[in-house]
Amino acid sequence: MVSYPGGDVREPSRLRPPRHRVSPRAIIWWSTQATIEVVAVLVPLVIGLLAWPDARPWLVPGTITVAVIGVGYLLVMPRWRFRVHRWETTDDAVYTSAGWINQQWRVAPMSRIQTVDTERGPLQQLFGLATVTVTTASAAGALRLAGLDRGVADDLVEQLTETTQATAGDAT
C-alpha cells in the first residue's frame, strides 16, 4: 500500500484502455500506406535485379527477404495498430493510448488544451478519415488521434473547442 500526503488510496493496478477505437476504415488506410511503402522499397530492388545480372547472387535473397518482411508488415501492422490505438474524452480530459511493444498512455486535461487541429491527407480523404491533434503548452508532445471517422472527428473538434473556450487562463 502506497500513500502520499493528501490522498486516500487504494492500490491502483493498471490503466484501463480508453473507451473508443478509431474507425475500422483506418485498417484499410494503414494497409494502403504500408503497401505504398513496401512497393517503394521493392521497386528499386527489382529494377536492380533486371539491370545488373551480376548482382543477382546476393540481390535475389536480399529482395526476397525484404519482400517477406514487407508483406508481413503490411499484413500485421494495420490490424495490430487498430487494436492498440484507442482514445476517449471525458468531461475533463482527453485520454489516448498507443504502442505495440512499447505502450504509451497520454492524458491532457481539458483546461490545459491549447489547440485542436484536424488534418486530412489525400488517402485519409479517400477513406473518409481524419487525424485530430490536441496540443497543450508543453513541449513534450501532442496527443494524436489518427484515423478517426470524419464525422466523429468533426464532432470531437467541436466539442473540444467549446470546452476549451469555456475554461479561463492561458493553460500553462
Binding site: 493496478s13 476517449e88 474524452t89 498512455w105 486535461p109 490545459r112
Partner: protein, 506 residues
C-alpha cells in the same frame, strides 16, 4: 532627461546616439584581422591603395551604423512594445506587453565604455507566430535600460518612469569566492582547452608551420619518446584547463546576485566584462532543478536552475540559471528560497525505486560492453584490445549502480519531486499546479519487470519531467495524487482482488 519623458508618451524614440560610435567600433574590431591582412599583404600594389581600401571599408561601416541609428525607432505604449528598423526593407516588430516573459539586459565591453546596455524582450513563445522572436533594443543608455526593464516587468506599470521609485529587493544569494574551487570541475575547463587549442592552431596556421620549426623543434619532438609527448600534453592540460576555467568562471559570475524584486521578479545579475541581467517573473516559475554534473558531484557542488515558462525552450538554455556552481547545501537552500519553501522540496527524502530497476540498469550498462568485447574477439584485432574493452565492465557496473542510486521521487504538499541520471544527476521539484498532463509509458521489458515511466508534462523547462522505472502501482498512484481528479477515471483499482473501474464512462 528627454529620453525619460519621451518614454511615457506614445511617441517613437531613437536608440542612444552613442551607438553611432559603438556599432562601427565593434564591427571594425571584428574586421581587424582582415584590415591587418589588407594593410600588410595588400590587394592593391601600392601602399596608398591599401590605405584607401581600408578607409573605404571603415567609411562604409560608419555609414551603415548611421543608417541603422537613423532608421531604428522604438516605442513602449500601455499595450505594446514596438521596434521599427530598416530603410528599404522596413520591418516593425511588435510585442504585446502581457506576452512579455523576460527582459534581459546585457552590456559587453564596448557598450560599457559608453555606458550603454542591450535590452532583450522575450516572449518565450514556442509557436511560429510573428511575435515569436525576441525584440532587441541595441542599445540604449544603461539608466534608460534599467527603467525600461522595470517598467516592462511591473504588472501594475503605467506610471511614467520618473514616478517609479527604485525598488529595494531582497537578496537571496550572492557570490562567495570560495565557490571558485568549483570552476575547474565545470565544463568551462573543457571550453578553455578548446579555446586555447583553437588559438594555438590558428597561430600555427597563420604564421606558417615552418616558423614553429625553429631550431629543429620538430625534429626533436618527433624523435622524443612517446611518453615525453604525453607527459607534456598532460601537463599542458592540467595547467590550462583549471586556469582557463577560473578565468571563465570569474568573467561569468563576477558580482553575482540573485534578488527578489517587489514586482514579483527574480533578478540575476553577473559578469565582469560583459554584464548580464536576467529577470524572471515569479508567476512563470513552475519549479526548480538542482543539477549535479559528475565532476561537480566529486567536489560536492551543484547548480540551481529555474523551471519556468517562457525561457525559450532549449534555445534559452542557461537563461534560467539561478546559481553558479556552489556547494550542495547552498544549491538546495537557493532552490528553497526561490520557491519560498523551507526546507527545499529538492532536498526531500526521496522514495527509492524497486530493485528490478537496478537489474535493468545493470543489463543496459553491461550488455553493450560484453557485446562489444565479444565482437572484438571475432575481429582480427590483437587479443589485448578485446581484453581492454572488457576492462570497461567495472566502470559500466559503477555507472549502473550510480544511476540506480540516483533514481527517486517524492510528493510534497505542493511539489512533485523526481531525480534521475547516470553521472549527471538532476533533481527537479515541479509545482503540482504546474503539471498540465501525464504520459505513462511502458516498454516490453518494463512490462515484464512491473515498472512504468510516468512523465508529468508542463509548459515550463524541458516540457516534461519523468519518474523513471517506478513500480506500476506506485507510479499510477503518484500520477493520480499529484494532480487530483486528473487521472482518476483512467486508473483501474483492485479492491480485495476484484477488478473494479473507477470514474466516469462518459
Amino acid at each position: 532627461m528627454t529620453a525619460a519623458t519621451a518614454l511615457g508618451e506614445p511617441g517613437w524614440q531613437r536608440l542612444d546616439p552613442r551607438m553611432l560610435a559603438v556599432t562601427p567600433l565593434r564591427q571594425v574590431a571584428g574586421f581587424l584581422p582582415v584590415i591587418a591582412v589588407v594593410l600588410l599583404t595588400g590587394i592593391g600594389q601600392d601602399i596608398a591603395g591599401r590605405v584607401y581600401s581600408v578607409l573605404g571599408g571603415v567609411l562604409v561601416v560608419l555609414l551603415a551604423g548611421l543608417l541603422r541609428w537613423v532608421t531604428t525607432r522604438y516605442r513602449i505604449t500601455g499595450e505594446r512594445v514596438e521596434l521599427r528598423t530598416g530603410l528599404v526593407f522596413r520591418s516593425t516588430r511588435s510585442v504585446a506587453r502581457d506576452r512579455i516573459r523576460s527582459v534581459d539586459v546585457t552590456a559587453g565591453l564596448v557598450h560599457r565604455l559608453f555606458q550603454l546596455s542591450v535590452v532583450k524582450v522575450g516572449t518565450g513563445e514556442r509557436t511560429d507566430g510573428r511575435e515569436s522572436r525576441e525584440l532587441t533594443l541595441d542599445a540604449i543608455s544603461a539608466a534608460e535600460a534599467d527603467r525600461v526593464r522595470q517598467r516592462l516587468l511591473d504588472p501594475r506599470d503605467t506610471e511614467p518612469p520618473d514616478r517609479c521609485t527604485v525598488p529595494a529587493g531582497t537578496e537571496l544569494a550572492a557570490l562567495r569566492w570560495s565557490w571558485l574551487r568549483f570552476a575547474p570541475l565545470t565544463v568551462s575547463s573543457l571550453v578553455a582547452l578548446v579555446a586555447v587549442a583553437g588559438v594555438v592552431g590558428q597561430l600555427i596556421s597563420d604564421v606558417g608551420a615552418n616558423a614553429v620549426d625553429v631550431g629543429g623543434v620538430r625534429e626533436k619532438l618527433t624523435s622524443a619518446p612517446l611518453w615525453v609527448g604525453i607527459a607534456a600534453f598532460a601537463a599542458l592540460v592540467l595547467v590550462i584547463a583549471p586556469a582557463g576555467s577560473l578565468l571563465i568562471f570569474i568573467e561569468a559570475w563576477w558580482g553575482f546576485t540573485l534578488v527578489r524584486e517587489p514586482g514579483g521578479t527574480l533578478r540575476i545579475r553577473r559578469g565582469l566584462f560583459t554584464t548580464r541581467s536576467v529577470s524572471l517573473e515569479e508567476r512563470r516559475l513552475r519549479g526548480v532543478e538542482v543539477i549535479e554534473p559528475p565532476l561537480l558531484r566529486v567536489g560536492r557542488g551543484a547548480r540551481t536552475v529555474a523551471v519556468a515558462t517562457g525561457l525559450g525552450g532549449r534555445r534559452g538554455h542557461g537563461r534560467g540559471t539561478l546559481l553558479p556552481p556552489a556547494p550542495h547545501p547552498e544549491a538546495h537552500r537557493v532552490a528553497g528560497v526561490v520557491l519560498e519553501e523551507d526546507p527545499s522540496p529538492t532536498a526531500t527524502t526521496l522514495r527509492r525505486h524497486p530493485l528490478v530497476a537496478l537489474r535493468r540498469r545493470l543489463v543496459r550498462a553491461t550488455v553493450p560492453v560484453l557485446a562489444g568485447s565479444a565482437t572484438l574477439w571475432l575481429t582480427p584485432v590483437p587479443a589485448w584490445v578485446a581484453w581492454a574493452a572488457l576492462g570497461l565492465l567495472p566502470a559500466a557496473v559503477l555507472l549502473a549502480l550510480d544511476a540506480y542510486r540516483n533514481l527517486g521521487h517524492a510528493l510534497t504538499s505542493k511539489y512533485l519531486v523526481t531525480r534521475h541520471g547516470a553521472g549527471v544527476r538532476g533533481t527537479v521539484a515541479l509545482q503540482r499546479a504546474g503539471v498540465i498532463g501525464w504520459t505513462v509509458s511502458q516498454s516490453f521489458f518494463q512490462r515484464r519487470a512491473g515498472l512504468v515511466t510516468v512523465t508529468a508534462t508542463t509548459a515550463a523547462g524541458h516540457g516534461g519531467y519523468s519518474v523513471i522505472d517506478v513500480a506500476t502501482a506506485e507510479g499510477l498512484a503518484l500520477a493520480e495524487q499529484a494532480v487530483p481528479g486528473l487521472r482518476e477515471p483512467f486508473v483501474r483499482h483492485d479492491v480485495s482482488g476484484a477488478g473494479h473501474t473507477l470514474g466516469s464512462m462518459a
